[in-house]
Amino acid sequence: EAGVAQSPRYKIIEKRQSVAFWCNPISGHATLYWYQQILGQGPKLLIQFQNNGVVDDSQLPKDRFSAERLKGVDSTLKIQPAKLEDSAVYLCATQTGRQETQYFGPGTRLLVL
């Protein structure tokens, strides 16, 4: 089966600009997560979707970050405006309803200058 797809793989922007990331989950995986991973740290959960509903967005900086999962399939994560501290890898992970295992995409590496 195809894995989790993410695009773009790399993005360089200047602070105060906006950026969007896209994630296509494994077919049939109802749960989708967006994580932020700063170099040398573990993934930090930003938002969790169950189908197209938000389960948890308590750690999402809502003044600048937004995410949606239309039709319960693809998802986009947007940052507007970006700050220097947003430089990180943004990982998308998906999960079936019956397993604890998460399947990750390759991530999008964001550099904010």
Binding site: G42, E100, T101
Partner: protein
């Protein structure tokens, strides 16, 4: 607050030896722990899951233990190979989500 910790220093091991990585948790009792491998420029890949009522789990050259008294999980790679070099992440369940350690970088020298 709930915390999961891994040794932040890189672990250097000679090829053929057993590598042992440690994961400690505090202020909660997870129902299970998971171990993932992450290579540079890639997302984490699931390796093993161990539940609180299991003391040990094995998969090929990998072995994971779970000690609820010590609040610790150990991850072993036997007969280590240079291809095992990567960062290994420990994660535990918390309110139907995973909380993650920072990972330990493992370097296997030929």
């Amino acid at each position: 607050s709930q915390k999961i910790e891994q040794n932040s220093e890189a672990l250097n091991i000679q090829e053929g030896k057993t590598a042992t990585l440690t994961c400690n948790y505090t202020n909660y009792s997870p129902a299970y722990l998971q171990w993932y491998r992450q290579d540079p420029g890639r997302g984490p890949v699931f390796l093993l899951l161990i539940r609180e009522n299991e003391k040990e789990k094995r998969k090929e050259r990998l072995k994971v233990t779970f000690d609820t008294t010590l609040k610790q999980s150990l991850f072993h790679i036997t007969a280590s190979q240079p291809a095992d070099s990567a960062t290994y992440l420990c994660a535990s369940d918390s309110n139907y989500q995973l909380i993650w350690g920072a990972g330990t970088k493992l370097i296997i020298k030929p």
